[in-house]
Symmetry: C2
Subunit: 128 residues, 2 copies
DNA sequence: CTCCTGTTTCGATGGATGTCTAATCAGTGG
DNA sequence: CCACTGATTAGACATCCATCGAAACAGGAG
């Protein structure tokens, strides 16, 4: 597959302000992502790519914080499975958690969702 | 260099039913997604959850349309692998394609990205 | 300390996924 | 017709992943 591409779509890596561990912030349609950028951002989408995790995320996001006990009750899967999915979301940087006594509470890290939203070109598109 | 002679000859569009239901549009932070909604939307995120596919998506989105030949050139993986990933994006309803003579061209279905953007944008904005 | 509950970790397993090569389909041109 | 190129499909294979039950960890109550 070695041929000279016309580079209709070969956009040069735009110099971006590095420093953000999470997604870069150029809208997807503005320019092509570099391999590095794609490798960085894809895991975030992947983390949201499971129905259970996506719903967990929405439940956590729709309130200030959510107790694992309540989250677990809302699904048909076992406790360990919920714990596993929460760990995936945590390691993706989408949520954070804290133990308070017996219970563990999760909340959304806004920066992450914001980055993805910007990437998808949602800047201002959100309507109530 | 120009390996894409602007083909004027247009064959019939590859009208294949990409029966992918697109995302509904409830902002993530506004309320918790139902199981059905999560099952509907998650595959879209999943489709973007692979670095190759995410970069393919960005390359297609950053220009009006993209030829498979150019897309293939931009990656280290084989042609069939690119074709496979494009199929995943197609079946997710994120892109559509058309054969024009020898080459096949892909473009973004804006509605899909818009839905995801709204979903995330509203969440990020509201939570921030 | 012991028991109980909530949460996470461990190990195993069936199914999904990304990748490849080889083969096939689609079009152009001799 | 046949040869050639571009793109997809088919089949195979190694790896990853969602899920479970059992066990371990964390904290409160008797």
């Amino acid at each position: 597959m070695s041929k000279q591409p016309v580079s209709v779509l070969t956009s040069r890596p735009d110099e971006r302000p590095s420093g953000a561990p999470l997604a870069c912030c150029a809208p997807l349609a503005a320019r092509a992502l570099s391999t590095e950028e794609a490798v960085t951002v894809a895991p975030l989408f992947k983390a949201l790519g499971d129905p259970v995790r996506l719903r967990l995320m929405s439940m956590i996001a729709s309130s200030a914080e959510a107790c694992v006990c309540d989250l677990t009750d809302a699904f048909d899967v076992s406790g360990p499975t919920i714990s596993h999915h929460l760990k995936v979301l945590r390691e993706a940087g989408l949520v954070d958690c804290e133990r308070r006594g017996t219970w563990v509470y999760y909340w959304v890290r806004p920066q992450a969702l914001e980055s993805l939203g910007t990437l998808l070109g949602a800047a201002g598109g959100a309507a109530g």
